[in-house]
Amino acid sequence: MLTKKFKTANFFRGIFFIPYIMSMTIVGFIWKFIFTSGFAKLYEVTGWEAWNLSWLGDTKLVFFSVAFVGVWQSLGFYIVLYIAGLQAVPQDVLEAATVDGANGRQKFFKVTLPLLGPSFTTCIFMSLTNGLKVFDIILALTKGGPGTATNSVTMQIYKEAFTNNHYGTGSAQSIVYFLFVLIVTQLVLKGFNKKEVDL
């Protein structure tokens, strides 16, 4: 949608990009504020039950809160990546599809989407590696709690090594983590490269 050329497109792109240039720690704090104070007020105003749930206190919900904040922070980045991918789709192919009688929807699903394959690979790969590395947001939002509901591997390594001072265990965990990340990313990358289509 944001590739369409109207005057304010750049402005909107900028808005979606702003969370990405902010530090993840700060993003975590902003949302902590909103989850605690902002939602309480929204509940008073609207009376919807959804605002009154304990988004950071409940072991089941907190997971979604963290994921949501992560998405909010990085969405702009992936939007920009897809825009670059969309602009790389050659116009003549789309014209050819129009000549062959394809309508707008068909053009999008049968031509544009397959050609966006490389963008999908990049985006999924990057969000995967970023997801495996997540640390700052969790530290700012929940510190891994309540209990161990949002403890990530990196969080665990950090705690083991620097809070409990078990450097040996921490190092061992980090090696296992490294091998795991390496294997998962390689498998995913292989899988996606097979599926991409060439012109």
């Binding site: 949608m1 944001l2 369409k4 109207f6 304010t8 750049n10 909107f12 900028g14 808005i15 979606f16 990009f17 702003i18 969370p19 240039i21 902010m22 530090s23 993840m24 720690t25 700060i26 704090f29 902003i30 949302w31 504020f33 909103i34 104070s37 902002g38 309480a40 007020k41 929204l42 105003v45 909010w72 969405l75 980045f77 920009v80 990546l81 825009i83 670059a84 990049t122 990057m126 495996l132 590395k133 640390f135 700052d136 530290l139 700012a140 591997v153 990196t154 390594i157 950090y158 090594a161 620097f162 450097y167 921490g170 190092s171 980090s174 090696i175 983590y177 490294f178 990340v181 390496l182």
Partner: protein, 279 residues
């Protein structure tokens, strides 16, 4: 309704949708800014309301308490050290690795770029120990130098790929004119790398300026060497319930990057895309 009017209507609907979505999307940031102008009582009473009168006392308190100017200078020193080293070393390395191709250069290249695959958390424990031994921890310059190690693999990779597109004939003609290798690189090659240098600088500035974990490990012990994000983190931790000060500290930590982003939006977005696609 004519076809043209219908298209215009469609477009209007689309733009309105976009405005609404963008508004909701940016609302948290707006809330942060707005609430930083309110005294504590007003935040507790009503988060969503506009401040009754803009109040700057939060700002003066936080700027003094956090030693904001000092922190800002720390961040500048660390980022500048990091960027300078990364750009200089990786562009030179990429130049030689591309121009003097052979068995050894390809081995060296592989060794340089492999660390991109290693997650930071895997090496952070040993890194901290090693840096304590060679006294690079706990100082601003030391932290900047450590960023060289983390930034160079990616930067060399990007420079190397771009270097392939610069024709060798340029080097040859410079050599015929009597230029040394250093001189050829400085006056002929480096200016041609401008676009890709911008990419590297944008990516690394965003990363170093906002980085959290490495400064937390290296420079957290001393108030003199803290970075902006780190100080904001500690500050917010202390002020956990005093949201008026905490929010102000958060605003102060993000405002520099937002201003730079607004000024250089085009370069930043292009740089990030180029970095992601090439990486």
């Amino acid at each position: 309704m004519t076809r043209k009017q219908k298209r215009l209507l469609n477009r209007m609907v689309m733009i309105v949708c976009l405005v609404v979505i963008a508004g909701i999307y940016i609302y948290p940031v707006y809330l942060m800014f707005m609430n930083s102008f309110k005294p504590f009582g007003e935040i507790i009473a009503d988060v969503l309301a506009l401040p009754t009168k803009p109040d700057l006392s939060n700002y003066s308190y936080v700027i003094n308490k956090m030693k904001y100017v000092k922190l800002f200078r720390n961040n500048l020193v660390i980022t500048a050290t990091g960027i300078a080293g990364i750009v200089v070393f990786s562009s030179m390395a990429a130049y030689i690795l591309d121009r003097r191709r052979g068995k050894y250069s390809s081995i060296v290249y592989t060794i340089i770029i492999t660390p991109m695959l290693i997650p930071f958390q895997t090496i952070m424990i040993t890194l901290l120990k090693a840096m304590n031994v060679i006294h690079l921890s706990g100082s601003k310059l030391g932290l900047g130098i450590q960023y060289w190690g983390f930034g160079i693999p990616m930067a060399t990779f990007i420079f190397y790929n771009f270097m392939k597109t610069i024709p060798k004939e340029l080097d040859e003609s410079a050599v015929i004119d009597g230029a040394s290798t250093t001189r050829t690189f400085m006056s002929i090659i480096f200016p041609l790398l401008k676009s890709v240098t911008v990419t590297v600088i944008v990516l690394d500035v965003m990363w170093i300026w906002n980085d959290f974990l490495l400064p937390l490990l290296m420079v957290n012990s001393n108030n003199e060497t803290k970075t902006l994000v780190l100080a904001a983190y500690t500050f917010v931790g202390q002020m956990n319930t005093k949201w008026n000060y905490a929010l102000t500290a958060m605003v102060l930590a993000v405002v520099p990057s937002i201003i730079v982003f607004i000024l250089l939006q085009k370069y930043i977005v292009d740089g990030v895309v180029a970095g992601a696609v090439k990486g």
